[in-house]
């Protein structure tokens, strides 16, 4: 344990230097905006589009999309969330994404949304594939585990990082498959998947996807499509 403490102290010395060199936003006072992804999705999807939301939670996004004129369907595992969808008049299928989505046909939706859900799945890659099988476009959002604060948190404290975006302690987190933007980009390359467009949340605002985002982005939203 002593040696661990010494390691952490030594790390902190270097962290200052690293931050000065790579991360201009090291103070990071940005406040988490829960629904920045929803805003992008709401702008993107047009009346008449069909949308499947995998892990739709309480159905807030789908309700907004429905009111905009989209044709919406949710899938959700948590029973009380399913009930909240029914309250809102959002069609919802009470099912576990990890058990497969074979009851949907290929290409039967314009968009399939996987919002802040991928990291909770037992078999995320299978669900990514299902997303692209069912929809013309996939929209995925996830917390970027490569974000500098997360990386340095582990280095400097020797403990699993707890941040605004990853607020759970290691033992009670629903997030069982944490991955970085880079990890995900690698997956798209391996599977012939095209990133049509990307957005990130950094410094408290929405930015277009850029090269440095594996380090700087707290949250990522990617619009995907199968390369033909």
């Amino acid at each position: 344990m002593e040696i661990d403490k010494a390691f952490c102290q030594e790390s902190k010395k270097y962290i200052e230097q690293i931050l000065d060199k790579f991360c201009k936003n090291k103070t990071d006072q940005s406040v988490r905006t829960e629904d920045w992804q929803d805003k992008i999705i709401l702008d993107l999807i047009q009346p008449g589009d069909s949308v499947l939301d995998l892990g739709c939670g309480d159905g807030n996004l789908l309700l907004n999309l429905k009111e905009k004129g989209a044709d919406v369907q949710g899938v959700e595992l948590d029973f009380s969330s399913v009930m909240n969808c029914v309250d809102k008049g959002v069609s919802v299928f009470h099912a576990n994404l990890d058990e497969g989505l074979s009851f949907f046909h290929d290409n039967c939706f314009d968009y399939v949304v996987l919002e802040e859900t991928a990291q909770t799945l037992r078999n995320p890659k299978k669900v990514f594939q299902e997303m692209l099988r069912l929809g013309k476009f996939g929209i995925i959002t996830f917390p970027n585990f490569g974000y500098w604060k997360v990386r340095l948190g582990l280095l400097a404290n020797g403990k699993m990082p707890v941040t605004d975006w990853l607020p759970y302690s290691w033992s009670d987190t629903p997030n069982i498959h944490l991955f970085t933007l880079l990890d995900f980009i690698e997956w798209t390359e391996q599977t012939n998947t095209q990133i049509v467009k990307g957005y990130t949340w950094k410094n408290g605002s929405i930015c277009p996807l850029s090269d440095k985002d594996n380090l700087e982005a707290e949250e990522v939203l990617l619009i995907l499509r199968k390369k033909s």
Binding site: S50, D71, V86, V92, F93
Partner: protein, 382 residues
Amino acid sequence: MEDKLFTNVKHVTLADKNNPFYLEIAGHIDDVVVEYETYGELSPAKDNAILIAHALSGDAHAAGWDLDWEKYNRPWRENKPGWWDTIIGPGKPLDTNKYFIICSNVVGSCYGTTGPSSIDPESGRPYGLDFPIVTVGDWVNLQRRLIDFLAIDKLLCVIGGSLGGQQALEWALAYPDRLHKCAILASAPRLSSQGLAFNAVGRHSIMHDPNFNDGNYYDREAPSNGLAAARMLAHITYLSEEGMQHKFGRRLRGKMQPDFDFGVEFEVESYLNYQGQRFVERFDANSYLYITKAMDYYDAAEKWGAGDIVEAVKRIECQTLVATFSSDWLYTPEQGREIAQALVKNNKRATYLSVESKFGHDAFLVETESVGRFLRAFLGSK
């Protein structure tokens, strides 16, 4: 406090010599009287009507306190409200201040609608087994006649659990333009092999009762032992293993030590005996045969999709909610979910709920809180 709902029995003749009721399998019935009840007021726009479909042993008395129990000699209703009184009534999830609720007894039953215990106008005696085989499709066709009689073009919703859920499904398939919504609870497109087996044993027990006499027992002692045994067996299928264990365990009935004889020893034996006895006081054995037959024959996939449920539900136009209950082993969650899966496979929107419950098949009647909540929400949604 909620107002108490008092109800009256209503009868209407929906078929006669000039307008016979043609049946799905074969033949027709010339005279059909239907017993039904209604609660609440039909709105001027006639857009608040909900039809409730009852299950195997149910009746038109879905809710409230029957003011006519003495008139029709139904003493069991004196101290007991309708079978879904927890869900239907003023201020309840199916709010009678808001909705016009209709429930009718199915043809072949014994609660005021024409059935095997009714007088056959040709012979002047009760039909008995001369009554024709009726189906879930016939029940729905007759309900449609009732809705026509009430001058309602389009129901807001048809709701049913178990065999009632199959009627709700059949409504959505047979008359897609006559309902806006459909709620199917603890049900499936068809009964499983295990379900067929239980019904077969129930009928065997009735038909081999020494008093059965080919169904001609209305002027003598009825096959009550057979009917009671059928009910006891069926009752087991309505509960779950866990639920039974929880309710009765291995507790002995009113004693500390068993008597080591063939009397009633365990609580669960006593409970089933009681259920069997109560049932024979209020149900006709022939009706049990006819209704279980209808349950056996129903297959939505076969009828509407040449065996393929995905093909069948192409016809459905209404918003559909399917709810199953985790410990239901008569109509299992997997079987019920097929309906919702088939809808989404057709790119139709559907809501499917899998309710965690230890109450087995009976859960749709017992899980008042969750059932009430999702029905209220489903009816209220646009």
